[in-house]
Symmetry: C2
DNA sequence: AAATCATATAGACAACTGTCTATATGTCAT
DNA sequence: ATGACATATAGACAGTTGTCTATATGATTT
């Protein structure tokens, strides 16, 4: 097992805020631009920008610029890695398939 | 899906510190008393006590007093719940068996 | 009951976090 | 080029975090 505690501590820190947890949940359903995410919360645009930067910095979320819009989505590889890490951290009886797409 | 974001944000906060992540990893191997955990880190006893209280408060870690010792262990139910939550949050193709013991 | 040992609590403090307002940057339409 | 729009950055600030030292609590041993 790769025991990169520092890296995963940062990812869990990114998930340790209720707003960011909800954002990740929204992105798991589908790719969204910042303005769509903003509509779902009672925060200002700069605050959302702060949260998105934090999520993107952990690499759990992708940001792709499209004109003046930014489309955010879940990074599938990071997602699988995170699930693997947590399963192994907890020595869970858990099997996670690698996605093919 | 149970969408208890506030609860899980707190659990991820507990896992967002490298020391606590390592403690959880140690406890996944076996139950340990505070003094044994302390040996593995360069922190003072009150600092460890602070971290353990934080972990126990999330219910991810059990604390059982045995005389003046306290034995810490992973709470199996919380562990499974956490893995389920993360899998479902990320819409993972992941199957986690419920343990029978 | 006194001494020792394991753990918890209190208080202090520097560093970090999440939020805001104000402003900047970059893109698109006119 | 100008105006409008989407997003990012800067700076401020109150609240939280992780650490320490000092001390308290509670259990065990002598």
């Amino acid at each position: 097992m790769k025991c990169d505690y520092e890296k995963y501590a940062l990812i869990f820190k990114a998930l340790s805020d209720e707003t960011r947890l909800k954002i990740v949940s929204m992105l798991s359903d589908k790719e969204l631009c910042a303005c769509k995410i903003l509509e779902a919360f009672n925060i200002t645009q700069p605050t959302l920008s702060y949260h998105m930067k934090l999520l993107v910095d952990t690499n759990l979320v992708n940001a792709v610029k499209n004109g003046s819009w930014v489309n955010y989505s879940i990074n599938e590889e990071s997602k699988e890695e995170l699930l693997m890490f947590l399963s192994q951290l907890l020595k869970a009886k858990c099997t996670c398939e690698k996605r093919r797409d």
